[in-house]
């Protein structure tokens, strides 16, 4: 068991009160697993990812633990987390296009990043070049500035940089959303390659593009309005989802990769609730065609089948 | 007003009230503004008449002492404050206005017009405008405060034009502007009803900086004797103080207040500017 998240609750502090962006998330991730994390914009998937690596104000850790390879991560302590960042847990951020210092040559930046971890860059160079080969980047990119690279190149370069220390867990946040379809596929495949070559043990792929997940993810976790909705193997989520939201999500999917940021669930009337003052109980209940009395209470995230978790009173639980 | 914009405004107000830089700056500016407005009521002496003993230090009757000729420094000071604010408002305002015009037109229209305006902006930017101001000022035999402000405004705009152009460029491609364009709105209206309101914070800040800059330029011109040929300004006070040997004669009360007032006013303006930046830009707020 590589990653275990228990009851993780993270709020955003704002003037008007706490935005309850992540509520009691409990799940785990196996060694070698690529898990997709999907949901509408603002459903808390980036909050979850961010709180695993950099839980900075205005985000606030309310409760919960994160255990990576049997070690509890001090996620609430910005400073103490540095020890684990990059080495144990790393990220390919949403803004990968702008993640590299525009005024530094790539090679130089890699060198300085490594040196900050006490690694001699010259000794690490062969490995670095091997990984460039892996993502099909020319070795000359090390002498380039970020602006000299295309979006796809930058994306791949950031993947290489982020995994230089062979972290146990890689968070890949919307890594394909800014790319064109053909590049998307290539980048996604490379991500799998990283896992296959055991550069990273496991990967969380955050996206709202279900088609990418279908290609690369072993399992998929669906979030809605800060709560976990369903988690199961990719096959299960795509073909036999159990949570009403997942079902609606899957049916409303366009055929090919969705590129636009705003995935609107046209089939579901209403909007996601404001997380500033979310409704009690199941947060999907106001839009849920199946909503009934018990939904006034928060449904537990229960394993209704092996490795299939659902948070819905209609599935599993007391009323299952 | 939609709920969202109202909320946004309230939020600005909340942060504005909480921002010490903005508050301190505003209080200082307000203080000097009030002093400039009502200052003449506090003294019965005309700034020009030889009202008191010569070169006397500050006293109950002459708060800031007297000049070499026995003129009341305080009454000159408050008159000078007015001049300072006038130059700032007119000079800074004109510079911002021209900057807006050039920036909006260049940024929105693009193409040859933009290129032309760009070249013009860069030229005025490169020319040491102060040297030019010296010559222009020397050209006029008799100069007034208003005229001085206009000249300052006419030479100080490129900086604002550049910044506003860049902002306009980035706003031009936004959805709401596209919408306005599709709906057949005239370009000028788009600029003033769609683009300008969306960069209000930016314009306010540009005006504040230009305001302060104009005050400094005017003080410099006045000090070297190329300011208004009649009346008083803080720069002229410093000029007279130096000309009449206030330093070796030890009349510090003659040259300290005007310079201190300028530094404080302009410093407060800059301070306010950073405060506003923090209010408008959540990323910069102290965490």
């Amino acid at each position: 068991m590589s990653l275990r998240v228990e009851d993780l609750t993270v709020y955003y502090q704002t003037l008007r009160g706490d935005v309850r962006a992540l509520e009691s998330a409990t799940f785990s991730l196996a060694d070698g697993e690529i898990m997709g994390l999907a949901g509408e914009s603002g459903c808390g998937k980036s909050t979850l990812s961010n709180s695993l690596i950099r839980l900075a104000p205005p985000m606030k850790h309310i409760k919960g633990r994160v255990i990576l390879d049997d070690q509890e991560l001090p996620i609430a302590d910005l400073h103490a987390m540095n020890e684990y960042r990059f080495t144990e847990i790393s990220v390919v951020p949403q803004y990968a296009m702008n993640a590299m210092n525009p005024t530094r040559k790539i090679g130089k930046m890699a060198e300085e990043l490594l040196r900050s971890r006490g690694i001699d860059a010259r000794k690490a160079l062969p490995e670095l070049e091997r990984r460039l080969d892996l993502v099909e980047l020319d070795h000359d990119v090390l002498k380039m500035y970020p602006i000299e690279m295309s979006g796809g190149m930058k994306q791949r370069m950031v993947m290489v940089l982020s995994t230089l220390m062979d972290p146990s867990l890689l968070l890949a946040d919307e890594i394909t959303s800014a790319l064109d379809v053909s590049t998307q596929k290539a980048v996604a495949k490379m991500l799998v390659g990283f896992r296959d070559r055991e550069i990273v043990k496991s990967i969380v792929v955050i996206t709202h593009d279900m088609s990418i997940l279908y290609q690369i993810a072993d399992g998929i976790m669906i979030m809605y309005a800060g709560q976990l909705a369903e988690k199961a193997s990719t096959e299960t989520i795509i073909h036999s989802p159990r949570h009403p939201y997942t079902k609606l999500l899957i049916t409303s999917l366009p055929k090919v990769g969705v590129k636009h940021d705003e995935v609107r669930l046209k089939g579901i009337p209403g909007n996601p609730p404001l997380l500033l003052d979310p409704p009690t109980g199941c947060r999907f209940r106001e839009r849920c065609p199946l909503a009934f009395e018990p939904c006034m209470d928060v449904p537990p995230f229960v394993e209704i089948e092996p490795n299939h978790f659902v948070a819905c009173w209609k599935e599993g639980g007391a009323n299952a | 007003m939609t709920r969202a914009t109202k909320k946004k405004r309230n939020e600005f107000l909340y942060f504005a009230m909480r921002n010490n830089k903005l508050k301190i700056g505003a209080v200082i500016i307000l203080f000097f503004l009030v002093l400039a407005a009502v200052g003449t009521l506090l003294t019965k002496n005309d700034p020009e008449t030889f009202a008191g003993p010569m070169s006397s230090p500050p006293s109950a009757e002459f708060w800031f002492g007297t000049t070499f000729f026995g003129q009341d420094v305080f009454s000159q000071f408050v008159i000078g404050l007015r001049a300072t604010f006038l130059v700032g408002a007119v000079g800074g305002g004109l510079a911002t206005l021209i900057g807006m015009l050039v920036g909006f037109i260049g940024g929105y229209r693009g193409g040859v017009i933009d290129e032309g305006l760009n070249v013009m902006t860069n030229i005025v930017l490169v020319i040491p405008t102060f040297a030019l101001l010296l010559i222009i000022s020397a050209y006029f035999e008799v100069r007034g405060l208003f005229m001085e402000s206009i000249f300052i405004g006419l030479t100080a705009w490129p900086w604002a034009a550049r910044a506003i152009r860049a902002q306009t460029l980035s706003l031009r491609s936004r959805e709401f502007v596209d919408l306005a364009r599709i709906s057949g709105m005239k370009p000028l209206r788009i600029v003033f009803s769609e683009i300008a309101p969306n960069m209000m914070s930016y314009l306010v800040m540009a005006f504040i900086l230009q305001f302060g800059g104009a005050i400094l330029i005017a003080a410099t011109l006045d000090f070297i004797g190329l300011g208004p040929t009649q009346g008083f300004s803080l720069g002229i006070m410093m000029q007279y103080a130096v000309l009449w040997g206030a330093l070796p004669l030890g009349s510090w009360w003659w040259f300290i207040p005007p310079g201190a007032a300028i530094a404080t006013i302009v410093g407060a303006l800059y301070f306010m500017n950073v405060g506003l930046d923090e209010v408008f830009n959540p990323k910069l707020r102290e965490t």
Binding site: I53, R54, A56, E83, R85, F86, T87, S90, V91, P93, Y95, N98, A99, M100, N101, P102, T103, R104, E112, S116, Y145, I147, E148, S162 | V119, N122, I123, V126, I127, P128, F130, A131, L132, L134, I135, Y139, E141, G212, I217, A219, T220, F223, I224, G235, M238, A241, V242, L247, F255, P258, G259, I262, A263, T264, G267, A268, Y270, V274, K283, E286
Partner: protein
């Protein structure tokens, strides 16, 4: 890069052409008659005055048709001839400027470079350091808002008159010749300190604040967040932020040159420092249009040159300009 320099060069050429034309117009637009003003000081007999007027007008070529004057102005200019000063008659303007320039370089170059360097260093250091941000930075705001001459007057008053430590006028002591001795060098330095300080302090405040604000922006930039997410040391993050923040500061330097020139001018006036700034004011006060022309031209060329150097520096520091991705 070609495009970048091409554009810049075009602007410089147009600016130079315009500036020279404005420059040429100066004596022809200014009130009064330069020759008459020169003769007036002599308080001559009316007959002699008239004869001398004709004589000098011819000597200054002011009796030629206007277009011819314009052409010959360009011609003379390209031959390094800026005419003859009336205020310092009969010294050629070029000679006067040549004598003043070393003082300007000596005063301005260190003041600009050091204040820029120190201000940026300090601003970067103070940014997001709460204690410094709240204590020292307000002083920086006050400094950058201080009129140059007032700071000069204050320094002169405190260090020159009250304490009597430093001289407040001239470029070297009145008690010695210009032979290059240690004493002379020492005297030059002593006279340099106060004008230098006035320029330095105001500049320092401005750059410190600029850098503080820039760094705060940069620390919120994506690449900074990425570095944080990778747990990079604070030092490295700040170093990267500094590298990026220095670019706007560099172009800021180019934009500020005009202001610095103005500051140098009044500072030289306050301290009677014999540079171009001091000269141009004397020239204006004495209606010496030819000298005004020369000084103005020199300032223009100086500022254009400095801008050009900054452009080159920009290309060195900012890969974006070098790779032709950014037009300007």
């Amino acid at each position: 890069m070609k495009r970048y320099f091409g554009r810049k060069l075009l602007i410089y050429v147009i600016t130079f052409f315009l500036a020279v034309t404005i420059d040429w117009l100066i004596p022809r637009l200014m009130p009064g008659d330069p020759i008459q003003n020169m003769l007036a000081r002599a308080a001559l007999n009316a007959n002699a005055a008239e004869r001398m007027y004709t004589y000098y007008t011819h000597a200054f070529q002011l009796d030629l048709p206007v277009w011819q004057q314009y052409l010959s102005f360009w011609n003379a200019l390209l031959h390094g001839d800026l005419g003859i000063s009336t205020y310092l008659f009969p010294t050629p303007v070029v000679d006067i400027i040549k004598a003043a320039v070393p003082f300007d370089i000596f005063l301005l170059l260190p003041a600009i470079l050091l204040s820029w360097w120190a201000g940026n260093k300090f601003g970067a250091y103070a940014a997001r350091t709460k204690r410094l941000d709240n204590t020292v930075l307000p002083i920086a705001y006050l400094l950058t808002a201080t009129p140059y001459m007032w700071l000069g007057i204050l320094l002169a008053w405190v260090f020159g008159i009250i304490l009597g430590w430093l001289p407040i006028a001239g470029a070297y002591s009145y008690t010695m010749g210009t032979d290059l001795s240690w004493a002379f060098v020492g005297s030059v330095l002593k006279h340099w300190i106060l004008p230098f300080l006035s320029l330095f302090l105001v500049g320092f405040g401005g750059w410190a604040i600029g850098m503080r604000n820039m760094i705060i922006y940069e620390l919120e930039a994506d690449y900074s967040h990425y570095l944080e997410a990778l747990g990079a040391p604070r030092k490295l993050i700040r170093k990267y932020a500094f590298r990026n923040a220095i670019l706007p500061q560099l172009s800021g330097l180019a934009l500020q040159l005009g202001v610095i020139v103005a500051g140098a001018l009044v500072t030289e006036v306050v301290f009677s420092y014999p540079g171009i700034g001091y000269l141009i004011l004397s020239a204006i006060q004495n209606q010496d249009y030819f000298l005004v022309q020369g000084c103005f031209l020199f300032i223009i060329i100086g500022v254009l040159l400095a801008n050009f150097l900054i452009d080159i520096a920009f290309v060195i520091v900012d890969p974006r300009t070098r790779k032709g991705m950014v037009g300007e």
